[in-house]
């Protein structure tokens, strides 16, 4: 490379980098977010944003949560775990929204993440899921890496000392090896677990889901969530949600489009909130999706939302 070209590239790169870093906050344009970043204790427990496109929802919500830099430090190995369980395109709401995942990957990169890996142990054939969900392309374009999870060799055994029915599990190596991971489920109903939100999304980091299904599914979900490396942030994609025939769904008739996003560090509280949100469409309580209650018994979080600082925003 010629020196002039190099200097030009370096110069433009610097500008691009700076603007990129600033973009979320510029767009959020919110003084409280800036203030919150200075004082993590003042951050809300749950942020809920409604009425916008996936990227706008995310940008606002993460700003309220103090910005991605709160969670991802420069040089960290980051994993983002969406739901990519099904060979379905985004409008069926069977998988997490690809635009949202792309925005999170970009944000992690901007926060200085050394690598951003994305995977799911899919139910349908993995290639179809990765491709048709739009997540593979979105992640690659945003500067992340999609890793495979369809064979047992990608999983490593860890112990779950707090587990009641599941004392050990094989967890995907990307999660085991990462510095932080972010849990990004899509909000759906589920024939077995009743709801699939943050904790049910753990089935995609575990190898043997048949064990979980055959040993008290609800308890096993709560047990899986006790894995010592907790997600540093949970983000529920409720841009499109599936309210019937979940978790795979059949037609777009199964989908509602509330255009919302919820974020929290407290996985139990966020699942509780999301269930109550879902209840506006179809009757559902956390007692039905009892893994949420069981997780509270594990002291993974609280179902008592009134004790929390919740920030509700309509764009």
């Amino acid at each position: 490379m010629k020196r002039r070209n190099f200097l030009k590239t370096a110069f433009l790169g610097t500008i691009a980098g700076t603007v990129g870093l600033r973009a979320p906050r510029l767009m959020a344009g919110n003084a409280s977010a800036e203030a919150a970043e200075a004082n993590p204790a003042a951050l809300p427990d749950i942020v809920a944003v409604m009425g916008g496109e996936p990227v706008d929802l995310y940008t606002r919500a993460i700003a309220e949560m103090g910005g991605m830099k709160q969670y991802v430090k420069p040089g960290m190995k980051v994993v983002i775990k969406p739901n990519i369980g099904w060979d379905k395109t985004p409008e069926y709401a069977a998988n997490t929204n690809p635009d949202l995942i792309a925005a999170i990957v970009r944000d992690c990169r901007a926060a200085g993440a050394a690598e951003v890996k994305v995977f799911d142990h899919t139910c349908d054939q993995w290639k179809g899921c990765y491709e048709n969900s739009g997540i593979q392309d979105a992640v690659k374009e945003a500067g992340g890496e999609v890793v495979m999870a369809h064979e047992e060799r990608y999983f490593r055994e860890v112990s779950l000392p707090m587990g009641v029915r599941m004392k050990k599990a094989k967890i995907h190596e990307a999660i085991v090896d990462c510095d932080v991971w972010i849990n990004v489920p899509v909000l759906k109903n589920h024939g077995g677990a009743k709801m699939t939100i943050c904790m049910k999304n753990y089935l995609g980091i575990v190898w043997d889901r048949r064990y979980m299904h055959s040993n008290d599914l609800q308890q096993c979900i709560a047990d899986a969530a006790t894995y010592e490396k907790r997600p540093v942030l949970n983000i529920v994609d409720a841009y499109r949600i599936m309210t019937q025939n979940g978790p795979k769904g059949r037609t777009t008739d199964d989908v509602q489009t509330p255009k919302a996003i919820f974020m929290s560090k407290d996985i139990v509280a966020l699942d509780t909130a999301a269930t109550q949100f879902f209840n506006q469409y179809k009757t559902m309580t956390i007692n039905d999706a009892s893994h949420i209650v069981l997780a509270e018994k594990h002291r993974l979080g609280t179902t008592n939302l009134s004790s929390l600082n919740i920030k509700r925003i309509r764009l």
Binding site: E152, R209, N245, F277
Partner: protein, 502 residues
Amino acid sequence: MKLYTILKWTRRVLAVAVIALITYFFIFSSANATGIWAALLKVQFIPGVLGITTGGALTVTVILLLTLLFGRVYCSMLCPLGIYQDIVNRIAWFIKSRQKRRTHYSKPNDGIRYGILAFVTVCVVFGFTYPLVWLDPYSLFGKMAVNLGRPLVAGITGAEYYTWSWPAFAFAAAFFTFITLLAAFRGRYYCNTICPAGTLLGLVSKISMFRIQVNESECRHCLLCGKSCKSYCLDSSGIKVDHSRCVVCLNCIGSCNTKAVTYAFAWKKKVAIVRKKEEPTAENKGRRAFLISALGAGVSAGAGVVLLNRFKGKARVKVGAGLPPGAGNLERLQDKCIACHACVAACPSHIIKPAYGELGWQGFLLPSVSYENGFCGFECQKCQEVCPSGALQRMSLEDKKLTKLGVARFTLENCIVYKDGTDCGACDEHCPVKAVAMMPREGSDKLFPKVTPKVCIGCGGCEYICPARPKAIVVIPMAEQRRADAPLIDVQIKVDIEGFGF
């Protein structure tokens, strides 16, 4: 001379490209059923013959026409087994001593080859395709690539191999040994003695427009050309070229020092005159009688097998495994499939396996479906895309989504929800048409699977994922694929909500 060098290298480059691509796709691409792969398989001769009503007519016409014009170019440039034998032969040539490299003219085994051709023709005409599973060169190559190549690569890379089958492996290994040795020591012996496609195309190449010819006035009868002929079909002492066995490799031309051997236009009168000269000698008469008896033997053997097969009775067929989508029914699959195992290689869910007993003895090595390692992808029709003979009939995705491979059967006593009283729903979760749905049941606050058989397409999602042992839900395979009822409609009114609900 230069032209021949170009021609010969064109043949080599094309041949190597074809075999490399076919092998690559057979071994490595589990989900990349690209157009190139399908296209390379669509130009194969016998699959074309079997799929003559489903798009194979074009292939057959083109290949016959090519043969009529240029001789057996299919055998040397498109048939993967033929190319494989050439490669083995060439490698052996490098290893062998100068003396051992030499080949020589040998008489054709007309009795065997025309006998086999007659036998196969009778069988195929009367809808008994099974002999081709053992004889078609392309499908034999496919069987080797899939059942030897894929496990080998999986073993090296440490990936899991899902479609292992002992009988298929044994068959492939035995044939691999046989064909490799044969090619190394006897050149294109298989193609000119056993292969029915080779024999049939040989009948056409006898009268092809361009042929290898030896110019008598320039020939010094040095035998060099015959020594380089891997088909053993060229004799320069008596100037004989057996065009029915020649695969136009052009090796002879390069070997000739006097430029007496040419590959040239042959539809001149001269050839006809030569033929007229032939007089019915005693030897000729004997040969003719022998040929007729061989043909007779072939035809009667074929007729015998066909009749035997017919008399077996048309009782309701029971199958121990399902058929891949698009097979239609067992009989149709047996009519059209030569077990090249392209579908086995293409299936990204690894549900298609070579059968051994599940589809009856006529179904040995034919593709069968089982759900230990996966289930049939709702959005997937890779097997139909690659199938060269139309045995797995290509259909619209909408039709494929309603093609019923079997029907799910639920056994309450085995179900986790019944046995343990805990939530499960794995089957419901995987069902793409909601033929399995979780329903309340009297005396329990839990939801139980309920099957709607009419809607079920037998994709095996429920069976695959069912965590109970023994499985609480299994797919009963069907010998005849039917059209399932369209999934039940449950329209939901789109709602706008105001608040967050928390």
